[in-house]
Amino acid sequence: MKDKVLIKGARVVCPANGIDSKMDVLLERGRIKDTRVNIEVPKDTTTINASGLVLTPGFIDLHCHLREPGFEYKETVASGSAAAAKGGFTTICAMPNTNPVTDNATSIQSLLDKAEGQPARILPIGSATKNSAGKELTEMAEMVEAGAVGFSDDGNPIASDILMRHALEYSSVLGVPIIDHCEVPSLFTNGQINEGWVASRLGLQGIPAAAEEQMVNRNIALAKLTGGWVHLAHISTKESVESIRKAKELGIKITAEATPHHLTLTEEAILHGTGSGGIFKPLTEEAYNTMAKVNPPLRTDVDVEALVDGLADGTIDIIATDHAPHAVVEKLCPMQEAAFGISNLETALASALSLVHNKKLSLNRMIESLTSSPALLLENSNHKIGQLTKGFSADVTLFDLNGDWNVDASQFVSKGKNSPLHGQKLKGKVVLTIYKGQIVYSELKKDLVSK
């Protein structure tokens, strides 16, 4: 591999620079060197003919679970990073709900050490409270110094209002967000899926939308009170979107993410196989699809529509995957016993592109929500990512906008094969990922690459 890479003839989409046109991109020594029409091939350069493909900055995922240490049977830093590369992600933020929990500078450093040499940049998110127990704050300043880019008790909401208040106050000088999984624990009550007709039909405990909405509203109130920065993880309901929109209009420092699954699937995915007949159709043995069990749960059409609208108008800042790999046995069981979560890194682009193909979202905004928008949320960490600007990290994703493929979860490089999209035909596929100037994933035909 030479230290210069020239990618020629792609449709380059770089929302940060307002670019969407056919041009060339030159990478040199791990940095973006140039982005313009007709760059001449310099000496000692790997040239890639990318005509017909879309080239964007490498995707950034603010929310994923790498499981290491403690749950290496679900995923490791290596397998998770490989999945990222295959999915077009060059930067992924790892949630701290490992065992032990990433709740001090040493464990942040340990993760960064493991990240060395992986095919994606791994940015640690530290726990907001010690052991994510919701009792005492962690040493946030020291963790930021070590490389933490945000704080979260993800998986657990920060239930204590006063502790959340102090977390926001304390972190307000650090330039990183407190990321909250919004869910009032007492309304969750061992819920399995969205509270609604599907839960009722299946005899499963529902999780009401209000469990999320109440905590979204609390977080908005506390952000207003403290001036701190709350980032709301995986928003799933219409009312949440409306609250966030209103808060942003008032200038409250709130940001929010939505996942590919909440943007595209509804609770009916749990009925798997019963199909569009909904409640009129008898359940089959395919019902109780544990692959679609995720927290927050998949909601309704109305919620999906509101989320997509919110993403389009910027109320929802970014798409984040909440990649949550699990072992086979953790899904091969009745619903109540199944783990929450979806292995998402390798299907995220195609899911997000379905919104573009269905004309609900512009390609530019979709790319922005995976690149420059998350980069903005990581701005204070000075990584120079998310745009094809000279001097920025040479992180590039090439994808085939219309390429059809069948999802075969057994072929995931992630250890987590848990995908509700298994067996489905999706449109849009990553064909090349470059991280710091190195090709870390490629399924480009060999004759398109000349060395």
Binding site: G203, I279, P282, E285, L332, M335
Partner: protein, 334 residues
């Protein structure tokens, strides 16, 4: 297998009715004629039960495993008895005395049972959808003997049979189901069975014990559109032909859904005063086990309107009809 082995009046499954049915997971996928076939064959099975030698060779050479992950008396015993009268080999597995205690997953336990050539697995499990899960992964026939608060089809069928045997039919009979609808698999399967057979169903419960999407009633195009919902028992039982009381679990109080069993009993308990408002030949049913003095008064539970013991007896015959239907639908002689 001789389709009528030892039971002359039995109706065979036809290509339209039952012939392609492998599993019994709930009544939602039963047609009214399938339900009627089970009820008709239950009559034939009752005749066998009344014989002095209660044994016919219908399922000889078949293996039935009952896999019960929850305590049960009547359902497990009646499936066992049903299987034995039909000459099947019946093996009972309960979680307290099996490798489930050692932490084996449902999947692996079920694979083990299948490897032992079980033709039919009768499963009871606290988690909704467990029978669907097993049906998805195993080649044996699965009969749901109660899963979480999803379904209990054999109970609903025996309830239908009990109603039919008293009134000669189910259509247009007013059936009031009272109590914890939210957590009741019996109520859910009965909703499907009763509505398919044309009964007029009324659900009566405190507002905290009904599925949240039921509370405002059902839209016109809903399968339960004909079902009405009330929180007032006196109103509900007016002209009722059947009152079905559901078991109330004490934990509903500790979880904040009810202030006290006392108040529940006062508002929703079946007592003599309430019966006066119903039809004079009203049937009182209960799937058991009962909390006498809570959802039903002792004098009613054991009084002239009660058919609760009859339900148990009918349960054996209904389960014979179900086992026969599933076995004959799946291949006859082996």
């Amino acid at each position: 297998m001789n389709p009528h082995a030892g039971i002359p009046s039995l109706k065979p499954a036809t290509s339209e009715i039952f012939a392609s049915r492998k599993h019994i997971l709930d009544l939602d996928d039963f047609t009214p004629s399938e339900i009627q076939l089970v009820l008709d064959n239950t009559v034939a099975m009752q005749e066998v039960i009344r014989r002095s030698v209660r044994k016919v060779p219908a399922l000889r050479g078949r293996t039935i495993v009952t896999l019960f992950h929850e305590p049960s008396t009547r359902t497990r015993v009646s499936f066992e008895q049903a299987g034995k009268i039909l000459s099947a080999d019946v093996i009972n597995i309960s979680n307290s005395a099996s490798s489930v205690k050692k932490g084996e997953s449902l999947y692996n336990t079920a694979l083990t049972i299948q490897a032992m050539q079980a033709d039919i697995i009768v499963v009871r499990h606290p988690h909704s959808g467990s029978p669907n899960f097993l049906a998805r992964h195993l080649s044996s026939s699965i009969i749901n003997a109660g899963d979480g608060y999803h379904a209990h089809p054999s109970q609903a069928l025996l309830d239908l049979y009990t109603i039919q045997s008293h009134f000669g039919g189910i259509k247009n009979r007013k059936v009031v189901i009272v109590g914890d609808i939210l957590y009741s698999r019996v109520a859910r399967s009965n909703l499907w069975g009763l509505t398919k057979m044309g009964a007029k169903v009324v659900l009566c419960s405190p507002p905290t014990l009904i599925p949240p999407d039921f509370i405002n009633g059902f839209p016109k195009n809903h399968p339960f559109a004909s079902v009405s919902i009330t929180h007032n028992l006196s109103e509900a039982v007016k002209d009722a032909d059947v009152i079905m009381a559901l078991r109330l679990q004490a934990e509903r109080q500790s979880r904040g859904r009810l202030p006290s069993l006392r108040e529940y009993s006062k508002l929703y308990g079946i007592n003599a005063e309430i019966l006066k408002l119903a039809n004079k030949d009203v049937l009182v049913m209960h799937p058991g086990p009962m909390n006498e003095g809570v959802e039903i008064d002792t004098e009613i539970a054991h009084g002239p309107h009660s058919v609760i013991q009859e339900q148990v007896t009918n349960g054996v015959a209904v389960r014979m009809a179900l086992l026969y239907a599933v076995a004959s639908a799946n291949g006859g002689d082996k």
